[in-house]
């Protein structure tokens, strides 16, 4: 069966490029009377349309090929692709028939479509919730409340330092305590680094990684 399908595929692909073109075009026309058959090189093609391939290709030959050449339909121009548009009810009926005939397993394309639909729905819900007026109002209120607090703190510090110039002077020239603190910080950081480095393997199995911190500072 697989060999036959391969031969048929080879025939369709190599000897009927027009048919492929017509078929590619037919993918975009959802009003076709038969289910759209993809002549892609994908390995999923036979899984999708396994036992219907001969039937579909014969339909293709009888509808698409004729419509390319013009046929007897005078209502359509000669260069159009695809078969005549059918009534939506007929199309739905044919779709149902096709689904009954086809394999019961979910088609890969359908699964991806469903996933895409779910994802788009979730994204839409997120965007809707994000863009709701209440959320936006509360967001703006929070931003300006935080900003007001920040500006008040800064204004207070600026005015205090402007009225007490000795603080800035101390910061700029007389920060002796800061110098001592700097040295102490350097020593502590180096000590901490080496403690972590050497006791990492020792403490890793029994204690948490933050255990050496009190160990360093209490020593």
């Amino acid at each position: 069966m697989k060999d036959k399908l391969k031969i048929l595929r080879f025939f369709i692909v190599s000897f009927c490029p027009c048919l492929i073109l017509a078929n590619q075009k037919s993918i975009h026309h959802s009003h076709l009377s038969f289910p759209p058959t993809k002549l892609s090189t994908s390995s999923f093609r036979y899984k999708k349309y396994g036992h219907n391939l001969c039937h579909n290709s014969s339909k293709l030959l009888h509808t698409q090929w004729l419509s390319i050449r013009g046929g007897s339909d005078t209502s359509r121009p000669i260069w159009t692709f695809g078969s005549k548009p059918t009534h939506p009810q007929q199309y739905q009926q044919s779709q149902r028939q096709y689904q009954q005939q086809s394999s019961p397993y979910p088609i890969v394309e359908d699964v991806t479509n469903e996933e895409n639909q779910k994802q788009s729905q979730v994204a839409k819900e997120m965007v809707d919730s994000f863009l709701s007026r209440d959320n936006r109002q509360s967001f703006i209120t929070r931003v300006y409340a935080i900003l007001t607090t920040q500006l008040l703190v800064t204004a207070g510090v600026v005015l205090y330092m402007a009225s007490h110039r000795n603080i800035a002077h101390w910061m700029a020239f007389e920060g002796r305590m800061i110098g001592k603190l700097k040295k102490k910080c350097q020593i502590i950081s180096i000590k901490y680094y080496f403690t972590i480095l050497f006791s990492r393997n020792k403490y890793a199995s029994k204690h948490t990684s933050s255990y050496p911190i009190p160990h360093t500072f209490t020593r």
């Binding site: 510090v157 700029a172 800061i178 110098g179």
Partner: protein, 192 residues
Amino acid sequence: MHRNILVPILSLTLSLVSMIVMTFNVAARQTAPLKWQLLSLFTIGESIIVGFISSFYPFKAIVSAMLTTAAASGSVTMYSILQTNPKYDLSQLGRALTSASIIFALYGFLYIFFPGLVPYSELLYSVGGAILFSFYLSYHTRMIVTGKHSKYMMGYKDYVYGAMTLYSDIINMFLYILRIIGSAESGSNRRD
């Protein structure tokens, strides 16, 4: 006299580090305890550095700079909120503002490292900085208050980061206005 400016440098480093962390780490600006800690560090650091800088100017200049900044930032904010015409929507000026700020910063660096290479005027540089940051303030305000039809907007979880951006714009505006007023006052004092 021994010069030891560790506190201002430490505050500047603190505020810079917290701003960088908030900018590049989404979790840091949305996780509850961390974002408040970073915000506090940023605010304290900026307050100390701004207080330190402004203490070199006269008190009158500081107060007038504060009032001018309040008026300017209030008018820019009101314009950005009330302007609903998409033709004047400044939220799409992000790239232009980035390039303008890069040029501005490069010009400043050139003046610092090669003083005679580029023509420099303190007043013009400060005016340029104030204008640039007023545009930034308008841009960030638009990003915050904008509606759903806008192309760019700030996420509703990033309210701390939004406040930080507005705050840094206002502070930078204040510093440039202070420089303008300070240079004008020192000029008038020299004339007297």
